[in-house]
Symmetry: C2
């Protein structure tokens, strides 16, 4: 075990104990100080970011990844503004979630408390560093961050700034720890840091998530893979269906709540598909359809079995004609990733059946799948979207960064 991790784990554990009893005002003051500090330190942060960008360019890293890595004053201000918004949210800690008096006189209360130490493993996106740390602090947690190696200089600069300014405003030392050794071996060791990490949250692509799920021995919250469907039921309003499908596919194809497969009832496919697929094609979307779809819309390429299971995250849409709601739900059950699923319908019973039988974090009637998001759900923040069923499901805000503790008031009871 790398001694760096043990030392950081012990520091974080010690900070977590102090954070757990830190009052709301001090946490908020620290967050405001951190936000102001990031802006004040922006020259230094940008200088370090430039080193990362130069190294990444030399390695021939793709343009999209370079864009996510790049910072400028505007992006740093956006990070700071995000932290100020987190400071303004209600403190999720110390909420009494229930209190009962038992027949023996014991008063048993359930209160929200921090998880403790949260590990975050993510890719080369320096904004996640500030964002994740701020959310963890607000919920009273210490955090151990392990960002992508390409962003290491940016991350060191950001964490240095956050710690200096946060500690000046009362944040305990160790509240934000960054793993500076970005080797794969150390990442795997972090995933096995039982006793130091209470929950590990991976944020990133499918490869990263898979590696964490396979290697971690600490508790993990799986996030982010979304093979989402829109199902146009035969009573659907054609205009609404078109609007929702186009929005779900094209408003931001790279994200996990974007639509990947369109299912449409045979009874209306011939009429409803051509205008929708034409509009999508005009927006540059490649259509991969079942045989019936290709017959209706010859611009479609034939879809393979693999297409149904693929999260494209791109301007590609799979399209399948189905015999009705049961076939649609069967398809979703077989190929979906239990993220976000939508039906477009005017039939009350179909809407209720879809809501009841589709097993996903978010099930929509007559709305775009793109709303699965902590901000859109009104949480005021988001640390990720859980695609597992344990602890948290769907968008995770501050509440999902807490656990509970039973506090029991007695007067001498024995059993």
């Amino acid at each position: 075990m790398a001694s760096e991790l043990i030392i950081k784990g012990e520091m974080a554990q010690s900070a977590a104990r102090a954070l757990a009893v830190l009052d709301t005002d001090t946490k908020n003051r620290a967050l405001f100080a951190i936000a102001d500090g990031l802006e004040a330190d922006s020259a230094y942060i940008l200088e370090q970011n430039r080193i990362d960008l130069e190294n990444a360019s030399k390695k021939g890293i793709p343009a999209a990844m370079l864009d996510r890595l790049a910072l400028d004053r505007k992006r740093i201000s956006a990070m700071a503004e995000g932290i100020r918004q987190v400071a303004a949210l209600p403190d999720p800690i110390g909420e009494v979630l229930g209190m009962t008096k038992r027949p023996n006189g014991l008063i048993i209360g359930k209160v929200s408390v921090p998880l403790g130490v949260i590990g975050i493993i993510y890719e080369a996106r320096p904004n996640v560093t500030a964002d994740a740390a701020a959310l963890c602090i607000k919920a009273g947690n210490a955090t151990i961050l392990r960002g992508g190696s390409e962003a290491i200089n940016s991350n060191i600069a950001i964490v240095k700034s956050m710690c200096k300014n946060g500690e000046g405003a009362g944040l305990p030392v160790g509240a934000i720890e960054l793993v500076e050794d970005t080797s794969r071996e150390t990442a795997v060791e972090l995933m096995k840091l039982n006793g130091f990490i209470d929950v590990l949250i991976p944020r990133g692509g499918a490869g990263l998530i898979k590696s964490v799920v396979e290697n971690a021995t600490v508790p993990v919250i799986e996030t982010g893979t979304g093979n989402c469907h829109v199902y146009i039921e035969k009573t659907a309003d054609a205009e609404m269906a078109k609007r929702i499908v186009i929005n779900a596919k094209t408003s931001r194809p790279s994200v996990c709540n974007a639509e990947e497969t369109l299912l449409v009832d045979r009874a209306v496919a011939g009429k409803i598909l051509p205008p929708i697929l034409t509009a999508l094609a005009e927006k540059g979307v490649e259509i991969r359809g079942c045989a019936e779809t290709v017959a209706i819309f010859p611009g479609a390429k034939p879809a393979t079995e693999e297409d149904w299971a693929t999260e494209y995250n791109d301007y590609i849409l799979a399209v399948r004609v189905v015999g009705g709601i049961d076939e649609a739900i069967e398809h979703i059950t077989k190929y979906g990733t239990k993220h976000s699923e939508a039906i477009v319908t005017a039939d009350y019973n179909m809407s209720q059946k879809f809501l009841a039988e589709v097993d996903a974090a978010a099930v929509y009637v007559n709305a775009s799948t793109r709303f699965t998001d902590g901000f859109e759900f009104g949480f005021g923040a988001e640390i990720g979207i859980s695609t597992q069923k344990m602890h948290a499901r769907g968008p995770m805000g501050l509440s999902e960064l807490t656990t509970t503790k039973y506090i029991i008031y007695g007067n001498g009871q024995i059993r």
Copy 2:
């Protein structure tokens, strides 16, 4: 991957989809039919249990383990009665935990739904088979059971009876699956059955829990290890302190909520310890104390560093004199397993400080740690006691066997 597991996984997944939408009445009818059936089939179950007991005797298995393995008519009736009690509990599924209307008109509801397929790995205790399966069914989950090899014939008989009678009353086929290959290899494969198991709950001793935590790639709820403390603060009522300490240690030393270490304030140790330790010694409890304890109570053996970290589950108590509440909390933080911790005090501020600063699933003021239990907490049932912070913490009842789903009612919203 053993094909047995894949087949059982697929069966369980399919049953889980049916169970998720099964109405409360059918679930309850199935549970009552299962309970009646276990009693009706008791001759067959006892015959199979006798085979297990004979095999176990030949292997020279310890008497305590044989006792846990043994069934008789009374124990089968107790199993049946437990299932009837589960049937009588409120259905935890379909509860609306919140519903908000967003500025764009979307109505976002959060409802409780089953976890899906729950894996349970446990030791040679046939009653757990019936108990765990009944709780899972009530919460709409299918279950894959893997009990200790010594109980395999009993478990096959119990599951056969439960399936036959449950299915006759409307339970979907596959709702209760038993892994009949009890090899260690198959157990490890079960821990890696991603895509089929939504949550895995180990129930048993420290070795079993450790093996699951280290090997599982499916989400796990860690249960059961308890190195629990009682701290006698200097203002404690001496009689109350004695009553609580004796109860917490001796009412059932083998369980996880029993006291393992007594901490006592130096200011009162000389006066308060002798009567307590004398009473414990009279009940056959071996005292292992720090130097000060040995000086006060010469019947104590000197404790080693290892004693502070040991969950004895036996008639042994470690005793340490501390300088005050901070030293007590420091000791608990260092050696405790975050299960159940108690303070005995008459000082308001000390009680509040202990409740706030001790990080454990259940923190008690002036009551025995032995109350950490689903029945004592009023849940009407218990599947185990979670000692992790994710998903569930402390005693787990039916609610802890559920997850949530967001259901969103729109009228054409796009983002």
